[in-house]
């Protein structure tokens, strides 16, 4: 195995109406190896001054397992605890299949 099989990138949109919209893009394999990085990036995004919303873009995630799901749930909970809106951007694929199999599709908002 050479190097991470995933990437995490956070984009901050130009503030409008006094709040910042954050978009975090994760690509690759969201598993035990990626979990810590993704969870940390989500905590940092949610903790950013002025942030009002976080969209987690998972459209380029090719694999996700139970550890990856845990990172998504932690992000959702952290956003909710700070009063931020939190939404997933997904396409039909591994992410939506796992959310459905775990019975948690309805626990998330979608962008």
């Amino acid at each position: 195995m050479s190097g991470p099989r995933y990437t995490v990138r956070t984009e901050r949109a130009v503030p409008d109406q006094g709040g910042a919209a954050l978009r975090m893009v994760v690509t690759g394999e969201l598993d035990l190896l990626a979990e810590d990085d993704v969870a940390r990036a989500l905590r940092e995004a949610v903790g950013q001054a002025g942030a009002t919303s976080v969209v987690l873009d998972l459209t380029e995630v090719g694999f996700i397992d139970s550890s990856g799901l845990r990172a998504l749930l932690q992000g959702r909970d952290a956003a909710s605890a700070r009063g931020l809106s939190f939404a997933l951007a997904v396409v039909d694929g591994p992410v939506t299949r796992l959310l459905a199999a775990a019975g948690v599709s309805e626990w998330f908002d979608y962008a």
Partner: protein, 415 residues
């Protein structure tokens, strides 16, 4: 003569030779370089790193001599290891210690020998670094100092290898220890054997992906007044935290199952226990919980699924059905409700509960579709639980990245 050449501490010395584990190892560069240097620096044709075994002298490196070992009896190295310091013979043909020696008197015609013992830190001479010539000659103090330094290099190299080997075997021992702990812990999370349940023929399997890691999969069979509860679950993550969660989940289910009649209620209770118990570690489990009640001509199964793959039923006619209705994962969100679904099974039907690790081992990494598992099960209608479990075992791929557990319940006649 041979008796004279046996050191007083020979038993311990031979143990030291064994400890360094160098006898009969292949040639290697470090020792080849040292003997080549010794021959060049002292201007002699032959240099040898010898190890004195019980009955032979074995050459770890033999520069300028195409012989790998000789008998111990005539070997001059056997004499050299009786010394603490160098053993020198400048003209063996006239030296009373060596003139009758076959290597000296015979065709080989050895005349000059200088050997420095390879002395371990605890004082045992394993063998020598020696130089040999077929001409008589003297050795200067400088040359002897060089030979002694080179002998120290040989010994350093041997010590280094011994300690590397010890590190490797220590690591292997630690790993075995970790595997033992993992196995013991894992075994404590699984029933030692499945209890007999009237009207059901049961089999279970558990496969670990990594022997030194405790997985999060678990299964259980809990007898109840009306039949039994079948449990297959999977704790998120790996290692001891997952194992602790697995243990909590399994024993909580055993307790709540006695009080809560329906599987959905039991999962709701488990959920609230885990949400409270697990606030800091933020983990969840997925569980398939099936209450099986034998009835006339079969069994009634009520099942609740907490974010877990749908169990499959192989009907006696060869069709395969997924049963249960998906509810959310267990242990994350307070107040989650779990839906019961009820299914009637006939005699000959086989119910299979499994973890996603088993599904992926059969269908491929990352797969959530159970088609491949259905394909394995379809021809197994009417077979015994063990036969079905064996067939599933055979279908597991070799590239297992996650633990795999499954529980098979074949409905049999109660008569």
């Amino acid at each position: 003569m041979t008796i004279d050449l046996i050191p007083a501490d020979e038993t311990e010395r031979l143990a030291a030779v064994r400890r360094y584990d160098v006898l009969d190892t292949p040639p290697d560069g470090a020792f080849e370089r040292i003997t080549a240097m010794a021959a060049r620096l002292l201007g002699v044709p032959i240099s040898i790193v010898s190890i004195v075994d019980s009955d032979r002298i074995w050459f770890k490196s033999h520069h300028g001599l195409d012989v790998e070992q000789i008998d111990r009896a005539p070997g001059l190295c056997a004499s050299a290891i009786l010394q603490e310091g160098p053993w020198l013979v400048t003209d063996a043909s006239v030296d009373p210690r060596t003139l009758a020696n076959p290597l000296v008197a015979g065709d080989f015609g050895l005349r000059f020998y200088a050997g420095v013992p390879l002395r371990t830190h605890d004082g045992y001479n394993l063998g020598t670094l020696c130089v040999i010539d077929q001409e008589a000659r003297e050795i200067t103090d400088d040359e002897l100092a060089t030979l002694t330094d080179l002998a120290s290099l040989v010994m350093d190299e041997l010590e280094l290898r011994l300690s590397a080997r010890r590190t490797v075997s220590l690591e292997a021992e630690l790993r075995r220890g970790a595997e033992d702990v993992a196995r013991t812990l894992q075994e404590s999370l699984l029933p030692p054997e499945l209890p007999p349940v009237r009207g059901l023929d049961l089999a279970a399997r558990y496969h670990v992906a990594y022997r030194d890691q405790v997985g999060g999969d678990f299964y259980d069979v809990i007898p109840t007044e009306t039949g039994c509860l079948l449990v297959v679950g999977d704790a998120c993550g790996k290692g001891t935290k997952a194992a602790a969660l697995t243990g909590t989940a399994r024993w909580t289910l055993r307790t709540v199952a006695l009080h809560d009649g329906m599987p959905g209620d039991a999962l709701a209770r488990l959920n609230s226990v885990l949400v409270r118990a697990d606030a800091d570690t933020e983990r969840y489990v997925t569980v398939a919980l099936a209450a099986v009640r034998p009835v006339d001509e079969g069994a009634e199964v009520t099942i609740a699924l907490g974010g877990h793959p749908h169990p499959l039923v192989v009907r006696a006619d060869g069709t395969v059905d997924a049963i249960g209705q998906t509810s959310p994962i267990v242990g994350w969100q307070a107040g989650t409700a779990y839906v019961d679904a009820t299914e009637l099974l006939g005699v000959g039907d086989v119910l299979v509960l499994f973890t996603d690790g088993m599904l992926e081992a059969v269908a491929g990494h990352g797969e959530t579709d159970d088609t491949a598992v259905r394909d394995v099960l379809r021809p197994l209608a009417g077979r015994s639980a063990e036969e079905v479990a064996d067939a599933l075992d055979a279908a597991l791929g070799t590239d297992m990245r996650d633990d795999a557990a499954f529980l098979v319940a074949a409905v049999v006649s109660r008569a």
